[in-house]
Amino acid sequence: MTARLTRDEVAKVALLGRLKLSADELEQMTAQLDRVLEYVDILNEVDTESIEPLAHPIELSNVFRDDIEQPCLSREEALANAPKTDGRCFVVPAILDGN
């Protein structure tokens, strides 16, 4: 049985998902994910040629409301769980270079 998932692919997917994995985690994860992917191959037995995907069980669409302002969180409430704040905003590492 050839492995379908390489450590490199797993590392790439970890980057996509912004997940830092240790070398051990990467090793273990590769083996475990490979087993699961091998298992889900069973879906290839099913003929889905003319079948529409079912993303959602009740298939509602366009659930709108009127664009009227509703009560919302106060600034204080919104900042209450912030890892770092200056009392006005969420403080994060600089994204843009320069000033």
Binding site: L33, P57, F90
Partner: protein, 490 residues
């Protein structure tokens, strides 16, 4: 009256008549939690002060003849995946260890309006991912019937709390069986409503097209009462359905004449524990004795359910958990190098192994080059699974099946074999894929004295039928009256 072992309905009657005060009942539950929860580990957070304050207010209003809510004075335990304003809501994850939501979930608001007394938040698998509650970052929960075994998951804390008499009612969430399976393992009633029946506003999202909140109770009447309060349209959840909520309690005692109970031969294949199969067959016999017809139905795609689910759910989870980036709330790493590293380090530190596994699986299945073969394929199989059920419900009113392939397994038994753990969800996850309501009720015991659950699944918005059919079985059997040894009065 003896509070211990009393059902929610019995307690509500005693509270309403004034025989029992809300403070006395809350105190009794809180004291039992203090006595027993060191062993069981059902709760992550107990709000003694808040619960007693709430109870005192309710007693005051009752004595003054003022109106009180439908569940007035009844203690409820809430799974820690549900936002409760000002109380910790951790989802059993280090990434939300210190998170206190600034808002109540819709179900929390409804509980408060019904004057329920919220005792605290219960343990779970991290972000609701798991079937044993062993994936909690903080502690494991033990099955009150055998403390060397798991209570099931991911709502293990809620199920164990009700089984051990720590709370007469509890709330859980069910994405692939996370209410029904722990209910079966713990010998209590657990129900997942139709998708859209209960608002998901304030339910921390795992898989948005699969998640539903639902009730735990020691009997069907308790589950019906709690469901009545939880259900209803919520404009803040655009997937919540605008349909009136029936008075489930008022029709509960009415048996269904001409009931057709469907049984799928596919459910009795290899891997199903003999004692579980016997319990389900015995249930069919009971329905027969009540005049119901047992009908063979075909669910030919049921064997693809696990594969479809374990592509769809992780894909949705990968998307939903992208918000935990250490920016607005949740864990932020102490040291990192730049923004991307802040995300990666914070998430790496905050998430446990199962959560990471599912995020990885999801992102892989959704990534360019794999999306069609994995995610889209799974969604097509999902439609076929749904069509199987639609066809089955043309010839039967409810579907009878096992809940889990075995009774509760030992702590540590499956935690290192993710695939084996996933396969154990085979009887429950199809209802989530199809959006259908399902209820697990006590259906007997194994030779070892472990609870065995039986499951009824119904057509969309068939909760009333499910509850009445469940009550028909419950009336004829003693299982729901049994209590684990450690829950009996000392």
């Amino acid at each position: 009256m003896s509070i211990l072992g009393a059902s929610a309905s019995q307690l509500l009657a005693a509270l309403t008549s004034g025989e029992l005060s809300a403070v006395a009942l809350a105190t009794a539950c809180l004291d039992r939690i203090e006595q027993l929860d060191g062993t069981i580990g059902a709760f992550l957070h107990v709000d003694r002060k808040g619960a007693l304050e709430q109870a005192a207010l309710i007693d005051q209003r009752r004595r003054a003849g003022q109106p009180v809510g439908k569940l007035a004075g009844l203690p409820v335990a809430v799974k820690d995946v549900v936002c409760t304003r000002g109380l910790p809501t951790t989802c059993a994850s280090r990434s939300l260890e210190n998170f206190r939501p600034p808002y109540d979930a819709d179900v929390t608001r409804r509980l408060r309006e019904a004057d329920a007394v919220i005792l605290g938040k219960t343990n779970m698998d991290e972000f609701a991912m798991g079937s044993s509650t062993e994936n909690s970052a903080f502690k494991i929960t033990r099955n009150p019937w055998d403390t060397t075994r798991t209570p099931g998951g991911s709502s293990g804390g809620s199920a164990a709390a009700v089984a051990a008499g720590l709370a007469p009612l509890a709330i859980g969430s069910d994405t692939g069986g996370s209410i029904r399976q722990p209910a079966a393992f713990c010998g209590v009633v657990g129900m997942k409503p139709t998708y859209g029946r209960v608002s998901r506003y304030g339910l921390v999202a795992f898989a948005s097209s699969l998640d539903q909140l639902g009730p735990f109770a020691s009997d069907v009447a308790g589950a019906a009462a709690l469901l009545e309060v939880m259900a209803g349209h919520d404009p803040r959840d655009s997937t919540s359905v605008d349909r009136p909520v029936p008075d489930y309690r008022s029709t509960l005692e009415q048996p269904l004449s001409g009931l057709r109970v469907g049984v799928a031969p596919e459910h009795f294949a290899a891997g199903l524990d003999e004692e579980v199969a016997s319990a389900v067959h015995a249930a069919a016999d009971i329905y027969r004795s009540l005049g119901a017809r047992i009908v063979d139905v075909a669910l030919p795609h049921s064997k693809y359910g696990v594969a479809a689910y374990y592509l769809i759910a992780p894909s949705e989870a990968a998307s939903n958990l992208a918000r935990y980036d250490g920016v607005h709330y949740g864990h932020r790493a102490a040291s990192f190098d730049g923004l991307i590293d802040m995300y990666a380090t914070s998430r790496g530190e905050g998430f446990g192994p199962e959560v990471k596994r599912r995020i990885m699986l999801g992102n892989y299945a959704l990534s360019a080059g794999y999306y069609d073969a994995y995610y889209l394929k799974a969604l097509k199989v999902r439609r076929l699974i749904r069509q199987d059920f639609d066809r089955a419900f043309e010839t039967c009113d409810v579907l009878l099946s096992p809940v889990a392939p075995t009774p509760a397994f030992k702590v540590g038994e499956l935690v290192d074999d993710p695939l084996a753990m996933y396969l154990s969800d085979i009887y429950t996850l199809s209802a989530n894929l199809a959006g259908l309501p399902g209820i697990s009720l006590p259906g007997g015991f194994s030779q070892r004295g472990l609870p065995i659950g039986i499951q009824l699944v119904g057509p969309p918005f068939g909760e009333e039928t499910l509850l009445r059919a469940a009550r028909m079985f419950e009336r004829e059997t003693p299982w729901h009256t049994k209590r684990p040894a450690l829950a009996v009065a000392r």
